[in-house]
């Protein structure tokens, strides 16, 4: 895959909104940054993990904060470069490659921008294959790579270094720093080796993200239903990837509430022409569970995406509205994400659900 022009950047951002499963921050801010690099002729290079040396030095970059604050703060192009300078100085070595911790939402597009700016390769992989609300919810952490040291910086150049005993604590500390700096900061974290990336990352997600965005655009241009295109791309049982259209209807109720500074919500969708047929999607920053007439049809870490019923444009949690016609799509999480040790951190139990994980292809045979 190559990102060489504005259309490529938009395709990437659309894919990131899809894989953001409702959250992850608006990719638009990252899109502007990446676009600026591309227009200057600085194109990001995406490499496969196997191209890395085992002792290569890799870090992640990600934003930590509140999505509504994000859309009021432009990302200065020098900020992330300064952050990388400070991280390298602190680590005492230079970085060989970047990896996105989170493919969904802002972070993947932003990391592509940093890769272009610093002329560093970006690895075609991430730590979750979707978006999650907490710093420790990545495969890197599950398999023992520590988030610390975490370098944090805000747009004014204030910075902090977190050395936490565990990643859960790093999450609490970074959240506190973010709050005290106006609820939007940027971080460099998860220093890893090439070997660790090869063993523990979710692979191929950057190219998958781009393919999803491009597929939606191309299907529209060919006046074909974008959903046919998406299913052809994503429903591939032969590579253990499953995709289903779970529901088609109209949003009839939206309930939002804040508990412990997290955004909880319930989205109720009614089938077209059948008020008795109802889907409820539960969210905590991202969409976590979809239940049709009380029966679970998809649950985290499998992906639940809400798309415009006609254009297949992914709709993030903040942009959902009463009366919207939507389709709900379910996509299986990568196999690594479904291992017991991963499910313990970001499966149903990780979000307080007292129910086991069941794969989407089992729930919807």
């Amino acid at each position: 895959m190559e990102i060489r022009n504005k259309q490529d950047v938009r395709d990437m951002a659309r894919g990131a909104a899809f894989l953001g499963v409702g959250g992850g921050g608006d990719p638009y801010v990252g899109q502007l940054m990446l676009q600026q690099e591309v227009l200057k002729g600085r194109y990001p290079t995406v490499i496969k993990a196997e191209e890395l040396a085992d002792d290569a030095r890799v870090v992640s970059v990600c934003g930590i904060g509140s999505p509504p604050v994000l859309v009021e703060h432009l990302l200065s192009s020098s900020l992330l470069s300064k952050l990388m300078d400070r991280m390298e100085a602190h680590l005492g070595y230079s970085i060989d490659a970047l990896i996105s911790a989170e493919i969904g939402g802002l972070n993947s597009v932003m990391t592509l921008g940093v890769a272009a700016q610093r002329n560093l390769p970006l690895i075609d992989a991430d730590g979750m294959g979707r978006a999650f609300p907490k710093l420790e919810m990545v495969t890197f952490s599950v398999y023992g790579c520590a988030a610390s040291p975490v370098m944090i910086m805000d747009e004014l150049g204030n910075s902090a270094i977190i050395n936490a005993r565990d990643d859960k604590t790093a999450e609490h500390m970074s959240r506190a720093i973010s709050s005290s700096l106006g609820a939007m900061v940027y971080s460099s974290l998860y220093p890893m080796t090439g070997k660790q990336v090869k063993d523990y990352a979710v692979h191929g997600t950057i190219s998958l993200c781009y393919s999803i965005g491009r597929c939606i655009r191309e299907s529209r241009e060919q006046l074909d239903s974008p959903f046919h295109g998406l299913l052809a791309l994503l429903d591939r049982p032969e590579i253990n990837r499953h995709c289903k259209i779970l529901f088609d209807g109209k949003i009839v109720d939206l309930l939002h509430e804040i508990r412990d500074a997290w955004h909880f919500g319930t989205i109720t969708i009614e089938a077209n022409g059948d008020p008795g047929d109802v889907m409820v999607v539960e969210m905590q920053n991202e969409y976590l569970a979809a239940r049709r007439n009380g029966k679970t049809v998809a649950i985290v870490p499998d992906l639940i995406c809400i798309l415009d019923a006609v254009t297949a444009e992914p709709i993030t949690g903040e942009r959902l509205k009463y009366g919207q016609r939507v389709k709900v799509i379910g996509l299986s999480a990568a196999p690594i994400m479904r291992r017991p040790e991963c499910l313990a951190v970001f499966g149903p139990a990780g979000f307080g659900y007292d129910e086991p994980f069941e794969p989407i292809e089992v729930l919807n045979p």
Partner: protein, 390 residues
Amino acid sequence: MQLAAAARDIRSKGLDAVAITSIFAPIRQDLEQRAAQIIRDIAPGVSITLSNQVGSLNLVERENAAVINASLMRLSRLVIDSYRQALEALNIPARLFVTQNDGTLMTADVAERNPVMTCSAGPTNSMRGAGFLSVLKEAVVIDIGGTTTDVGFLLQGFPRETIDANDVGGVRTNFSMPDVLSIGLGGGSIVDDSAATTDGLTVGPGSVGYRILQEARVFGGDTLMATDVAVAAGQCDIGDKSAVEGISSEVIDASLDTIHRHIETAIDRMKTSAKPVPAVLVGGGHVLISRPLKGVAKLHRPEHASVANAIGAAIGQVGARIKRIVEYGESDREAVIKQVSDEVIQEVIDAGGIAATVKVVEIEEMQMTYLQANAVSLKVRAIGDLAVEN
């Protein structure tokens, strides 16, 4: 200091419009107001757009909307002044209202300061007028004008709005606009029959525009255009019929085929399913259509179809919207919503709405995630019937 320097620069360059955008302006208007005062003190006479008056949360989109608005200021003053003069010249002592993108009205004074809110009101009016005339709540609306045809959708009596691309010429903005497909086909579209066979005949997108009254054959001109074909086919009686008697029936048939095909394609692109839908045909160019249209269940051609746009404007309601970030305490959520609702209702009344008819039609709450404070982005919208003085 920097603002003062910018203001001096504006003065020395003789600029006449300024857009001011500050972060979180929808919550804190005072920063933009202070900046405006500094500019005004140094460069009096410039017209100033504050981002909080034209947009909501989302810095880039709001800033773009403010810049577009500032750029349109001079034009809007010219246009609104012309309307006022026209009313005066015609001795019509009525209050002047301007329609907004969402089908509601605002006073001329407000419109003059917020031109960006009127920029796609044209198609909205046509669609609202079509809904009013046909009494349909859900239908595809085909508005054939002189140069272009706009195809849009009515949902619950209001135009369907764009979902994704609130792009104006590639610039992302955050105002809602009707989802309309425009094609280059209208009463003034030029019919080119110079090809060897009628298969090569084209209608539009080239058009004579407003010169239709001079250049159409039926008006004594010598350009063959869509209206001439409609007259020749006996679909309408406009101008001098004898001027088009010489057009061959092959050319007439091929032109009508082409016109209908273009419209059918446009309808198909706007439809959300293959199912046939009711359609309403409006605009002065509605006479071009004489055959059943593919994909259309029933074609409505209401009386007064050619002035649907004006009717849509005339039935406009007065609307107002407040979007603000508020903090709910332990128990005062109801009180905060009530207070903002009262404010927005007052805005509608101030804009000319009849108090008894004003009602809140939309309350939207969006929690501000990751912040401990119980901050909520609250949007309240109210509309009411326009008070018409006798």
